[in-house]
């Protein structure tokens, strides 16, 4: 019940933001939300003790799926794009998951990285898709409804928010139950889990699939916000950014990924505007400070505040 109330508040807040905020803030919120959804998937995966350095693969698949719909088949409907992207992400994850679910630790991380880099290579080689330059996409309608220019992005943000909140609630429900405990058990000791008769492979596979579908959705949302896709979405630095946001927020909550993504975007924007020559250094120092002083992620701040209150 508490979670439902929190979800309702979060959604109301996001809708208010989508309707009232200036355009640049709507854009930032969309990007932060998109990354938050990807990181949510990563957090699900991290519950089983696995970190993927290749979520860019699904982020990119989602972005390109959305863009190709508008570019190749002239389907410029945002709802179709978002759903198709999540489906595409889930589908590819269902396929690659068969292989990857056997891997653990750093090998899981590196194999997922290798796969995303192979997709990167394929995209760079595709002259028809604009190679590294990428191409533009335009979404004009939502479930067939058309909106005035400038209004459409606000509608997309509301739609994205609704989906993200529903996804977060579902993940919350899933992890709060038997499945979540099973995932933690796989992380802690896989062998015992199999001795108890459960299949760690199945747990990892399903969580990987969820992470893939969410990353695909996030990719399409980001593509809708930016209006452009390019292979950089699948590059390892993009994947690394997701991992960083996950660690920044901490893995113990499902709101944390979204808050962390918003803070990350804000941090990067401020750093590159006020310190254009040393923005990488500023970002690095902020990262170190957070890891040193908030080792369990920013969310531990919330925990402490809640306990003292």
């Amino acid at each position: 019940m508490k979670a439902l109330a929190a979800a309702a508040v979060a959604l109301a807040l996001l809708i208010a933001l989508a309707l009232l905020a200036p355009q640049w803030l709507v854009f930032m919120a969309m990007l932060a939300l998109a990354k938050g959804v990807v990181v949510l998937g990563l957090v699900v995966l991290m519950r089983t003790g696995l970190v993927s350095f290749g979520q860019g693969l699904y982020f990119g698949i989602g972005a390109y799926a959305a863009a190709l719909l508008s570019h190749q088949w002239h389907i410029a409907d945002a709802a179709v794009m978002l759903l198709a992207a999540a489906a595409a992400g889930g589908l590819i994850a269902a396929l690659l998951g068969l292989l990857l679910a056997r891997y653990r630790d750093i090998f899981f991380a590196m194999l997922s990285l290798a796969l995303s880099m192979i997709l990167y290579g394929l995209l760079v080689k595709s002259a028809a898709l604009g190679s590294t330059d990428g191409f533009n996409l335009h979404a004009r309608t939502f479930f067939g409804m058309a909106f005035a220019s400038g209004m459409e992005r606000r509608v997309f943000l509301i739609a994205g928010s609704a989906c993200a909140v529903v996804a977060a609630l579902m993940v919350h429900r899933l992890l709060g139950r038997h499945w979540g405990r099973l995932a933690s058990a796989v992380r802690d000791n896989e062998l015992r889990v199999s001795y108890l008769g459960a299949s760690p492979y199945r747990v990892v596979y399903v969580n990987y699939l969820i992470a893939g579908a969410l990353a695909g959705f996030g990719g399409a949302l980001a593509a809708l916000a930016v209006g452009h896709v390019d292979p950089e979405t699948t590059y390892w630095t993009t994947s690394g950014e997701f991992v960083f946001i996950a660690i920044l927020g901490g893995t113990q909550s499902i709101i944390a990924p979204f808050v962390a993504a918003a803070i990350f975007e804000a941090l990067r924007t401020i750093a590159s505007q006020y310190a254009p020559n040393v923005w990488q250094m500023s970002l690095g120092l902020a990262m170190l400070a957070i890891i040193m002083f908030q080792p369990a992620g920013l969310w531990s701040l919330a925990e402490r505040w809640r306990r003292s209150a």
Partner: protein
């Protein structure tokens, strides 16, 4: 036959370069369980320092052959200064954290170093062609090759053999193997693990800087050169099996040969040849070529 010789030579030369980079990375991972992203920064620092040192030497009108010594000196200075600084100043407070968190810490260091390098050396490329041109060319299958590549191959061999000797033939090396095998037990036996961590990181950092210093004469040293080598070195180390020196050597050679064959026969695929090798090796051998057996903990 005349086709295979150049492909093999280019592959071995590229593999030697990869080995210099990945030896330090695999050593640090083997001992400290840190996948060190800042390895790329140390490589870049080594390259920049080599340019500064060797240029100062050459501008001083000293004999050109001495510039090779300057390359080595630059690597030792960078490794000996920055290595301990990072380990004592930052990493020693972070041991025991999750492997992923450690990756992020070294990534943060990498970001900071990128800007530090920019502030110190600027954004213009640095050139140091003298040591590259000095040994001249030799001919192989009718084509000219720079003799500098032989030097690179030699350095990789010497480095590899020196590491093996130090690990398996010296007392300190054997103690280090004990630390790798079981850290807690080693501490209980009275081994000063902290000291070994410092030494390992310093040696690893020096190897990274050496890789950079030896590369500097062959390329234009530009901002961002560190980024390119990180993932390459990671791939090599993972292919070989994390923490395995022999694995790194074999992985480097494999990647080098595959790359040069791809360039020759299928240039379009060069971009992902390395990742394809990595994926195929991992699919066939999930923990790399030379993975250590791990006890199943119940």
């Amino acid at each position: 036959m005349s086709n295979i010789l150049p492909v093999a030579f280019d592959g071995i030369a590229y593999g030697s370069w990869l080995f210099l980079m990945s030896a330090g990375l695999t050593l640090i991972y083997g001992v400290m369980r840190i996948l060190n992203v800042a390895h790329g920064s140390l490589y870049a620092l080594g390259a920049y320092a080599a340019c500064s040192f060797a240029s100062a030497w050459l501008n001083g009108g000293l004999p050109a052959a001495g510039s090779f010594g300057m390359l080595l000196l630059a690597a030792i200075v960078v490794g000996g200064l920055v290595g301990p600084l990072l380990e004592r100043g930052l990493l020693q407070w972070m041991y025991g954290k999750d492997e992923v968190v450690l990756v992020l810490i070294t990534y943060a260091v990498f970001l900071i170093m990128e800007d530090v390098i920019k502030l110190v050396w600027g954004v213009d490329s640095l050139l140091l062609p003298e040591p590259y041109a000095l040994p001249g060319n030799f001919s192989l299958g009718g084509l000219a090759y720079p003799a500098y590549n032989l030097l690179l191959i030699g350095m990789a061999l010497v480095t590899g053999l020196a590491l093996v000797w130090a690990l398996y033939r010296t007392r300190q090396g054997k103690l280090l193997l004990a630390v790798i095998h079981d850290r807690e037990m080693s501490m209980a036996m009275g081994i000063n693990v902290s000291r070994f961590y410092l030494a390992t990181f310093t040696v690893g950092a020096t190897l990274a800087a050496l890789g950079g210093a030896l590369t500097a004469p062959t390329v234009a040293v530009t901002p961002g050169i560190g980024v390119e080598v990180i993932v390459l070195a990671f791939a090599v180390v993972v292919i070989g099996g994390l923490g395995s020196l022999g694995g790194a050597a074999l992985g480097a050679l494999l990647v080098g040969l595959v790359r040069s064959a791809t360039v020759r026969y299928w240039p379009e695929a060069e971009l992902f040849s390395i990742y394809a090798v990595m994926a195929i090796v991992l699919i066939a051998r999930p923990k790399g070529l030379f993975a250590a057996q791990e006890a199943r903990k119940i």
